[in-house]
């Protein structure tokens, strides 16, 4: 079933031992939406993304991807993951492979594309993120910003429908944040569905179509950036924004 709703998350719960990190998360993500997820450290933002990608197994609730429950026993997790890409704070490029190979290996081994096709696709997306000059470089030879752009190209090369970003710029030196955010902004404009955990409030404000504020394992507020940043309804949101925005100055 192909609908405009990409994700429907119902009553999602995640416990780590006795610690309930996600408590009854409900949200829907439609095609083409760019959802920024903000919130204090430890509020469960990463855990939510990791549950969506099934890097963590949710304790309870359901995650529907185009109407199919990804937690069902017979759900094809591997093919699902090719459609839902993930970009990590620490880049996690494959250290033993060149930039080009990083973007090809998944296509060849998982999507079973030919080497030639995989290369063409990889080059196309490396071009898009401005990394086509570095196809032969190894990850250790790249700056943080370059690594993150390659990581984005790696996800795109799988022709994914959604990318989950977990603080993609938090490990970067300040002067490299801009280049990565620019790539992400272009992706957002191209219509890619994106869920972005971020501390970059400017990005959340300018680029996203929706902002989700998480507080202690629940979604405390979920609204347009205008509402969240100008007239938040939840006092916790106001408090949080006041704290982070003033820290920036």
């Amino acid at each position: 079933m192909q609908t405009d709703t990409v994700f429907e998350i119902n009553h999602l719960v995640k416990n780590f031992g006795d610690h309930q990190v996600l408590k009854d998360i409900n949200m829907t993500v439609s095609k083409g939406e760019v959802v920024s997820i903000i919130g204090a450290s430890g509020s469960g933002k990463s855990t939510l993304l990791r549950c969506l990608n099934l890097l963590e197994t949710p304790t309870d609730g359901e995650i529907l991807y185009h109407g199919d429950n990804v937690l069902e026993k017979n759900f094809d997790i591997r093919s699902y993951r090719t459609k839902v890409g993930m970009v990590f704070q620490q880049f996690n490029l494959f250290n033993n492979m060149s930039v080009l190979k990083n973007c090809m290996i998944g296509q060849q081994k998982v999507l079973k594309r030919s080497a030639q096709e995989a290369k063409d696709v990889a080059l196309e997306y490396l071009e898009k993120v401005g990394m086509s000059e570095f196809v032969n470089a190894k990850p250790r030879q790249l700056s943080g910003g370059q690594k993150q752009r390659v990581a984005i190209a790696r996800s795109l090369s799988m022709n994914c429908e959604v990318i989950l970003f977990d603080e993609p710029t938090s490990a970067l030196d300040p002067e490299m944040v801009g280049e990565v955010l620019l790539v992400m902004k272009n992706l957002a404009e191209s219509g890619l569905t994106m869920l972005v955990v971020t501390h970059e409030m400017q990005f959340a404000k300018d680029v996203s179509s929706r902002v989700v504020f998480m507080d202690d394992g629940v979604i405390a507020e979920d609204d347009s950036p205008e509402v969240i940043f100008n007239e938040p309804k939840n006092p916790r949101t106001r408090e949080f924004l006041y704290r982070v925005l003033n820290k920036d100055i």
Binding site: M86, F88, N92, M97, G106, N136
Partner: protein
């Protein structure tokens, strides 16, 4: 007769025999190290299989892990000399007195012994790989086997290369215990020779030097190989697609990814 006269006598009579021993020692050590490494890698891959949601598969995995742990513990916890006797004569006992050919037996014994050590080395190597590498591989849909073969094992091999070399050198020395089952490696040849010439001290002094030359040169060679494999960090920036000759060669500094 002086010591040097004794040595030259032994050498004259037995050089050929000793070199044959060196050949067998090297053959057994090399092949067994490679097979041992493969055993270690396979065990490493099996041990890291994520827990299945299927109860039966999870149960099978548990049993397999138990067997593998038992194998590692037993072979690390007993002397190879004893293992050689038990395996060689154990087979003969079970086969009604028929024994296995010696060199293949030797390779078998040293391989599974090395495998037990390699399993631990590989395990350490896998643990030292950043969790993010596994997660990135998973996140693009790779299964456990693909993740291990394409992402993890290549990095593990690079990291454990010094330990692999070390195992090889240890094996060169430790094949000497195989004389108990009569494998014609260097130590066994020396024993035969010393009985022939009655020059016990001179004979063992000679093979002492021979062992040292073997391990010393091989250690240096492997160290050199490690250096080379550690990688050229040079790479080429493709200048332009219309002019493939427009390449800029960048010479990166030698750095280890860690």
């Amino acid at each position: 007769m002086s010591f040097f006269e004794s040595m030259s006598k032994v050498w004259r009579i037995g050089a050929k025999q000793l070199f044959l021993g060196v050949g067998n020692t090297l053959l057994i050590a090399l092949v067994s190290t490679v097979i041992g490494l493969i055993i270690g890698l396979i065990i490493g891959v099996i041990r890291t299989i994520p827990k299945s949601r299927n109860k039966f598969v999870a149960f099978l995995r548990k049993i397999l892990n138990f067997i593998l742990s038992a194998y590692v513990e037993v072979f690390r916890g007993t002397p190879m000399m004893v293992q050689a006797m038990v395996i060689y004569w154990g087979y003969a006992f079970a086969a009604g007195g028929k024994t296995l050919p010696l060199i293949p037996s030797a390779i078998f014994i040293v391989s599974i012994n090395t495998g037990a050590y390699m399993a631990e080395i590989v395990r350490g190597g896998i643990i030292s790989i950043d969790k993010g590498q596994f997660e990135a591989a998973q996140s693009i849909g790779m299964n456990h086997f693909q993740t291990m073969v394409h992402v993890v094992i290549p990095q593990v091999l690079r990291n454990i290369l010094p330990s692999i070399s070390n195992e090889f050198v240890i094996n060169i020395k430790d094949t000497s215990v195989l004389n108990v089952i009569g494998v014609a490696e260097l130590f066994y040849q020396a024993t035969v020779l010393s009985k022939m010439t009655y020059e016990i001290f001179a004979t063992y002094a000679i093979i002492c030097v021979m062992y040292f030359i073997l391990t010393f040169t091989i250690t240096r060679l492997l160290r050199l190989a490690e250096k080379l494999l550690e990688g050229k960090s040079n790479y080429t920036i493709m200048g332009s697609q219309s002019d493939p000759k427009a390449e800029i060669h960048v010479r990166g500094e030698e750095r280890r990814a860690d």
